[in-house]
């Protein structure tokens, strides 16, 4: 009985790794340019479908397919930002919301028309079912463990990039004060393109990992956006490590909820999010400065 609950919490924590991957890209974009990409979830599903195409045509392992899919998504992100979203800068909050929402609906319906409504899954050849025994009846799956490790690796790299590298310094400067950063010679438009490229590169990893973990359809995107958003809010805006904690809290809430009653998994996650919003709106790990 107790072992079963410990196991549930453990699975939830590992699931949190996947949610942190989704949340990081969203958080990065909001941090740098103060916009929310409503097509975030659908772009991750697009990446998963691209991986399906790569796997089916080249016969590659889905992990290897990422070598193609992640740069492709990053390039798409750069193009999307520099060709479309940059044109909306300085026009207020409404245009970026509506344009990214438009893309969300376009991507969903284009996926429906291209790949039909059938659910798909990526098969990495056995690792998705392999598990590691921890003793006393507990075991963790290798794949959820790898997902969490990759999430931590990406967060550490991102943290290093933001704190140590010149592009990271430019991200921070733009995030603090866009106009002054521009006066100091930072090319905002190119920088925003890079941030979106980075975000969609990470989202590609998240989408492919999701596709290995579970089945997905053309309409799986919005839920991914909502989970990412909830992880960001639970963890606290502007905090990279908060996203990991937020993802873990959401993951545990969902697995525990699902164990209590099968229909209540996702709903419990949402309710925990609402409870955090009500009781601690700044999130669990908020920075002192808060602007949303």
């Amino acid at each position: 009985m107790t072992v079963a609950w410990v196991d549930t919490v453990l699975q939830g924590l590992l699931l949190g790794g996947l949610y942190a991957l989704f949340a990081t890209g969203l958080s990065l974009i909001f941090g740098v340019m103060r916009i929310v990409n409503l097509a975030h979830g659908d772009l991750s599903i697009l990446a998963a479908f691209l991986a399906v195409v790569v796997v089916e045509t080249l016969g590659l392992n889905p992990f290897l397919a990422l070598v193609l899919v992640a740069p492709l998504m990053a390039a798409l992100g750069y193009a999307l930002q520099t060709l479309v979203l940059n044109r909306l800068l300085g026009q207020g909050i409404l245009p970026p919301i509506l344009v990214t929402f438009g893309f969300s609906i376009i991507i969903q319906n284009a996926l429906l028309e291209t790949f039909s409504a059938d659910s798909r899954r990526l098969n990495p050849g056995g690792i998705e079912t392999a598990s590691l025994a921890l003793g006393s009846g507990l075991a963790i799956g290798w794949f959820p463990f790898i997902t969490l490790a990759v999430a931590v690796l990406i967060l550490v790299s991102l943290q290093l990039l933001i704190s140590r590298m010149s592009v990271g310094r430019a991200f921070r400067a733009t995030s603090d004060d866009q106009e002054t950063a521009e006066l100091m010679g930072i090319d905002n438009r190119r920088l925003y393109g890079l941030a979106m490229a980075l975000s969609l590169g990470i989202v590609a990893v998240a989408g492919v990992f999701l596709g290995i973990r579970t089945t997905f359809t053309f309409s799986s995107g919005p839920d991914r956006l909502l989970f990412a958003f909830e992880a960001v809010i639970i963890g606290g805006l502007g905090s990279l490590w908060g996203t990991l904690v937020g993802g873990a809290v959401l993951g545990v809430a969902q697995t525990v909820g699902a164990k209590m009653s099968p229909g209540w998994g996702i709903l419990t996650g949402h309710l925990v999010f609402l409870a955090v919003l009500l009781l601690r709106p700044q999130g669990l790990f908020a920075k002192a400065r808060r602007s949303a």
Partner: protein, 342 residues
């Protein structure tokens, strides 16, 4: 110094023409049951429902700056409120439609307490998340039929023609009341305050506009209107399920209609709704392509003409059928300034 000669213009030739056209259209539409078939009435109910949803969202996003992506919550709540009121509590189904709006507005109050903590893009995702919460709660409630939903049985004893004509007349009434209410609200001093908030929130606050209260009133009013429309939609369809009633598509249709037609005008949603129906009918054999086309059109309009198709018309010909703005005409007739009202 001679006082400046000016007058404040609120009514134009076009607006008198617009009123006459609207009156004429109403007479034609009101007589439809006498000469039109049931299919034309059904499609008009749908047209009116989308038009009201668009007007409501336009008020919320285009005027109050509350860009909600979660209005499907109120379509769904309105629809389910209709079923519960009519089938479980024995209320007359047609009377239940406006009551469903009241119930929806009651749900909107605690919802507002949560989503008003967000601004901008996070408000948009927050409203979307709450709509999902409502969908999942209803999909887990046995008396509401769980995931498979319910059928409106209260209208079964009625003759089919009676039901169709009454639904149509009710829809027409809802459409007229919604248009008049939005128009009257925007022309009132509250509407003026609302537009001041849209243009600059801090400036309007210093001038004495209660920003929070104004936004809350608009949010609740729009939830009421959206809930009534949700009830109307399911009075027309008779069959409800959580996935359909709380579908993001309700908000997608609405946003595409308003953005393409013209955000921040009353004429825009009318133009947008008409275009939506034309595109959908033309592409009815091509699956989801009409959504891709409309989405692309909305993105294109947002990039090139942020004021939408009606914005282009209004700008080029200075045409305003339903003018909301006050315009100063200099050197025309004398205007005696009144002491400022409190």
């Amino acid at each position: 110094m001679e006082p400046a000669r000016f007058r404040i213009e609120r009514t134009t030739g076009a607006s008198r023409g617009g009123l006459a056209c609207a009156g004429l259209a109403l007479i034609v539409l009101a007589s439809l049951p006498a000469w039109g078939g049931p299919s034309s009435m059904r499609i008009l109910v749908e047209f009116i429902a989308l038009l009201v949803l668009a007007q409501m969202w336009n008020l919320l996003a285009g005027y109050a700056g509350l860009v909600s992506i979660g209005q499907q919550a109120y379509v769904g709540l309105g629809g389910y409120a209709l079923i519960v009121l009519a089938d479980d509590l024995g209320v007359n189904p047609f009377l239940a439609v406006p009551l469903a709006g009241v119930i929806t507005a009651v749900f909107a109050l605690p919802t507002a307490a949560l989503v008003f903590r967000f601004h901008g893009g996070y408000f948009a995702v927050g409203t979307w998340a709450i709509a999902e919460v409502y969908r999942l709660l209803i999909a887990n409630t046995p008396v509401l039929g769980r995931g498979s939903g319910r059928t409106l049985k209260a209208v079964f004893p009625l003759a089919r023609e009676t039901r169709e004509v009454t639904t149509y007349v009710l829809a027409l009434a809802i459409g007229v009341v919604a248009l008049v209410a939005v128009y009257a609200f925007l022309r009132s001093r509250y509407g003026l305050g609302l537009m001041a908030i849209r243009d600059s929130e801090p400036a309007s606050e210093t001038l004495g506009v209660d920003v929070f209260r104004t936004k809350l009133v608009v949010y609740l009013g729009v939830a009421f209107g959206t809930g009534v429309t949700g009830a109307l939609i399911y009075l027309n369809l008779l069959r409800i399920s959580p996935d359909a009633a709380f579908s993001i598509n309700w908000t997608a249709y609405t946003i595409f209609i308003v953005v393409i037609g013209g955000l921040g005008s009353l004429e825009g949603p009318l133009v947008g709704t008409a275009l939506f129906f034309v595109v959908r009918e033309l592409l009815s054999d091509y699956g989801a392509w009409y959504m891709i086309l409309l989405g692309g059109l909305a993105v294109g309009v947002m990039l090139a003409y942020p004021r939408g198709l009606w914005g282009i018309v209004a700008e080029r010909w200075d045409l305003h059928f339903f003018p909301i703005q006050r315009r100063v005409r200099l050197g025309e007739e004398e205007f005696a300034p009144r002491p400022p009202a409190r």
